[in-house]
Amino acid sequence: MVCLTGGLLLYGTADLPDWGDPNAPASLHLSNYYIENAIRDTEVPNLVTAVLADYRSIDTMLETAVVFCAGLACFLLLRDFTPKKDHHYRHVPTGVILHVKNPDRQVIVGNEFEDMDKEWLPPDTIIKTVCRMLIPFIQIYALYVVAHGDFSPGGGFQGGVILGSSFILLAISYNLKYLLKRVSEKFLGILSAAGVLVYMGIGLAAMVLGGNFLDYEKYAPIFGEHHIRALGMLGVEIGVGMSVTAVMVIIYINIVSEGKHDEGL
């Protein structure tokens, strides 16, 4: 069966045009139009961004919605709200560990105790220091990738992934609770939805101002004529970046802790 399907696919690829063939159907009129007119239409040097965020921006908007749905599905499938039975508490000044089994009621812990994992290990100083120094640079680079999507390769999706992976690096080098203390689950959920809403809001506001959906030209009275489409694309890319960042972190924390959000890598 596999051989048959693979054979059919290989047979099909024989009919595909060669790489860079000027007579291929895609490069007869469509690509030429984009290559010749994109700079004049949009004033954006990066063609890929011009096609993705301007000519085909509804497509990109629904891709963002798909990413949001992936995060939502991961949350719904894996999140586990049942409280765990065993608790380990570490007395921070002395390092003594208390193991509490099946508590009848909620154990009240003071500031000196820290709820910890069963497989807890003291974080390695070298790893912690290196990651602490590296993470700000990764985040700045991610923001650069988002902001420069219309001039150089990159854009909201790649920048969002890099920003999300910097948070994941924080969770790996310290622990999951350390991350969740700084970035709460609620905030991530709101951020992932807000990214899609920013995108749709930019589109709908253009309709309110009298244009088509996602027609950035209509913002010209507010922001000025100069590079208005690039500005609209930047807004859209920020929306994509917010959504992708939040979804990456949501997927990671749900997979690595089996939805319990207490312990993990």
């Binding site: 790649q158 992934v161 994941i168 690595v256 089996e258």
Partner: protein
């Protein structure tokens, strides 16, 4: 010169793909997938599709490897088959 670099990377892609199928250790499979994505990223970059290469490097080689490792961490490291 140009085609020989292409050929070497393509061979690496195929070796990584076959390795990911035949290796029993799932953690090694996750790492091989990362290597596979990185080789594909080089191929995209050679073809001039820099945006796709960027996406492949950040998503394929970066985040999805982390997701695979996280999933292996929570399940078992050996396959049954």
């Amino acid at each position: 010169m140009y085609w020989s670099i292409n050929l070497v990377i393509l061979i690496f892609v195929i070796v990584c793909a076959l390795g990911a199928i035949y290796v029993k250790d799932l953690l090694a499979t996750a790492i091989l997938f990362g290597a596979y994505s990185f080789m594909m990223c080089l191929l995209w970059a050679i073809m001039g599709a820099v945006d796709v290469a960027f996406t492949e490097a950040s998503v394929g080689a970066g985040v999805s490897t982390v997701f695979f490792v996280a999933a292996v961490f929570r399940t078992s490291r050996r396959t049954k088959d």
